[in-house]
Subunit: 214 residues, 2 copies
DNA sequence: CCAAAAAATGAATATTAATTCAAATTTTAT
DNA sequence: ATAAAATTTGAATTAATATTCATTTTTTGG
């Protein structure tokens, strides 16, 4: 019995490692990298500090491992979502659905990716973070008002909730500019300005064929 | 002469303060909050460390001031962009345009908001950051392939470059899920799944009226 | 059951960097 | 020109916490 693949000791070690990573993830998600001490991680994972160094040679390595593992796991789940379907429209639907599932089931991990991020940056303190987040929300509100009034006047067709439209335009703009910032050669800038709005303005699928979806 | 608004001393102090903030911004943008020491900031701004504490009572306050100022400045520029136009479509066009300008002219500041963010988190080291960024790019590539093939097969209309479409879907999904994560009550989750794709699939403006734009 | 080997422990050490403050310098007023 | 006041300086202090390693505990094989 117990031939489950790895020698008992190895298996035990792997389990411990996972426990350690889980504890660390939870703490990092809550308080951010720099606000979590090795002693805290030791306490939460029920190891002694010294033992942590059996698994990772430094706090930084522990953190990097955590992040890279997560990124790879999420990435491969999304990839599977695309491969699971034949038709392009279904692929996209599946992508969004799986993305949502990942989000639901990994909320705290996602926070580690995003809470500190998303314009708010790492957790100096909650008050400050929410202050910045309020500015962001207020920006979304102004944009939302434009969509709402456009819809009301019949200038726009209501293809989605105004808030979602605002979030969409804001995030597309930011993401594409960021990509340009990262690789100005690969992703040219000026053309995008017009293209970005086309994503909202124009229909990706032929409206006359749209019924095929439902 | 020299009646430029504030007493000489006050004016001088304000100028110094701005110089200090500029130096700090540059350093933070390059290396991230926790990797910049007060001594570095002092050196770059050509003050002594002690003097920094004349302006801000702590490193944290210095940083917060920087971020809040930036956020407010960007926010009000974007707000003006909306208010400057009468028509909703022009408002949106102006928003995207001004957003791009802010990006161009504040690349390093934006990095402070985004580089550490955007899934990559704060700068432990460049190698690690780019490792995570590669995973992100690869995710975009998979999604891009779906759009490209959909367009090629005639399943999709080419309303924008496949890369931009991929970036758009990815960022809308993430942003809207994040909003839900932040305020589950205000922004319900499940409905969005379908709505998100509508942003791409459907046209916000009546195609028969589209010519009015050009 | 026993002793050698392996693993775990956490108090002590080392490091890094934020903050302070007595001394030096500059500015202002007479 | 002089001295009081204000400002600036940066070496020394303090604080926080990552890492080490001598000691203790647990496991293993005979």
């Amino acid at each position: 019995m117990e031939t489950d693949s790895l020698p008992r000791r190895e298996r035990e070690k792997a389990r411990q490692r996972r426990e350690l990573l889980d504890a660390a993830l939870e703490l990092f998600s809550e308080k951010g990298y720099h606000h979590v001490s090795m002693n805290e991680i030791a306490q939460k994972s029920e190891f002694a500090v010294g033992t942590l160094y059996k698994f990772f040679k430094s706090k930084e390595e522990l953190y990097k491992t955590l992040m890279t593992d997560l990124a790879n796991r999420f990435h491969s789940e999304l990839l599977e979502a695309l491969e699971a379907k034949e038709d392009e429209i279904e692929k996209l639907q599946n992508w969004v659905r799986v993305g949502g599932e990942i989000f639901r089931t990994n909320a705290s991990a996602i926070r580690l990716f995003l809470t500190e991020a998303q314009g708010a940056k790492f957790n100096l303190d909650a008050k400050f973070n929410s202050e910045l987040f309020e500015i962001h929300k207020s920006k979304i509100e102004s944009l939302k008002a434009v969509f709402a009034s456009g819809i009301q006047k019949g200038r726009f067709i209501k293809i989605a909730d105004p808030t979602l439209l605002a979030v969409a335009l804001d995030s597309i703009t930011r993401a594409s500019l960021f990509l340009w910032l990262d690789s100005p050669d690969q992703y040219p800038y000026p053309e995008n300005t017009e293209e970005i709005l086309n994503i909202l303005f124009k229909a990706l699928i032929d409206p006359t064929a749209a019924f095929r979806l439902f």
